[in-house]
Amino acid sequence: MSDTSNSDAGGIRIVIVDDHELVRSGVRGALDPDIDVVAEAEDVDQALEALATHRPQVVLLDVHLPGGNGAAVIRGAAARDIETTFLDLSASDVAEDVIEVIRADARGYITKTISSLDLNDAIRRVAEGDAVFSPRLAGFVLDAFAGAIEAPDDPELDQLTKREQEVLRLLARGYAYKEIGCRLTISVKTVETHASAVLRKLQLSNRHELTDWAHRRRLI
């Protein structure tokens, strides 16, 4: 099915950022032929250099890096006006890591236990501008937005719609986007739209909901 000529038209150019050589080569080996690794980096400075030089479409970014962390790369890229999409690939699944990077503007979060199939799918998804949620992240978001507040500052940003909650719940339970679509009788595209909307809320909502939640979990 994939274009064997690996032309720019079909290929997705990515940079892998992880301080473990083994992880980088493992990821490289798991990628489909139409995903092109244009560079690799093992710390924050190298990452920023690679991004500036190669301008990839997607950056597979580890949360924990020497010289800073995943969020530092994202912020550094923004400061240098480098446009790209960040997909966090992490060994860590703890709340603070996840939330920190997502709020620094990553488009998705996946853990290293992910299958090759899902990894390629996730890269394609964020390359198209859609959000990717690991089941754990979906759970955190539900938790963070749970409990209605009396008078939200911005109901649109501070609360999840019923549908968004449903989608997150199924994501947290381990369902894939396609399965969620079947279950809720909506298209995969619609599922992606809901996921992206939730991501936007998570990133933009620095209101009471998320702040309280982060406090309760001693994240900030």
């Binding site: 719940r169 947290a172 339970r173 381990g174």
Partner: protein, 98 residues
């Protein structure tokens, strides 16, 4: 109630680990004021609910009994090739007993 729920979860997880031909089992729990929901899901072989070997039927019944004893429920959704999901629900008192 918690003991029953934990026991049922453990049974569901062990069962999934033993019979589902997959590396991954998902567990998701939701605690609200009046209930606790736990979902144990695998994307493994699944099975035909009408065609269970005597050994496996024992597990499903055992989980149901545990739940029933504390006023909870167990719903098992499965299909050959589609994996299995065990949904456990127990009621809870808003304050006090857990």
């Amino acid at each position: 109630v918690t003991t029953a729920l934990l026991g049922a979860c453990r049974e569901a997880l062990v069962n999934a680990a033993k019979h589902a031909t997959t590396d991954k089992i998902d567990l998701y729990a939701e605690v609200t004021d009046d209930r606790i929901d736990v979902f144990v899901r695998d994307t493994g072989a699944g099975f035909d609910p009408d065609d269970i070997a005597p050994g496996r039927r024992g597990i499903a019944d055992s989980i149901r009994r545990r739940m029933a004893r504390v006023g909870g429920t167990c719903v098992i959704t499965t299909e050959p090739g589609e994996g299995t999901e065990v949904e456990l629900t127990v009621p809870r008192e808003p304050e006090g007993t857990s």
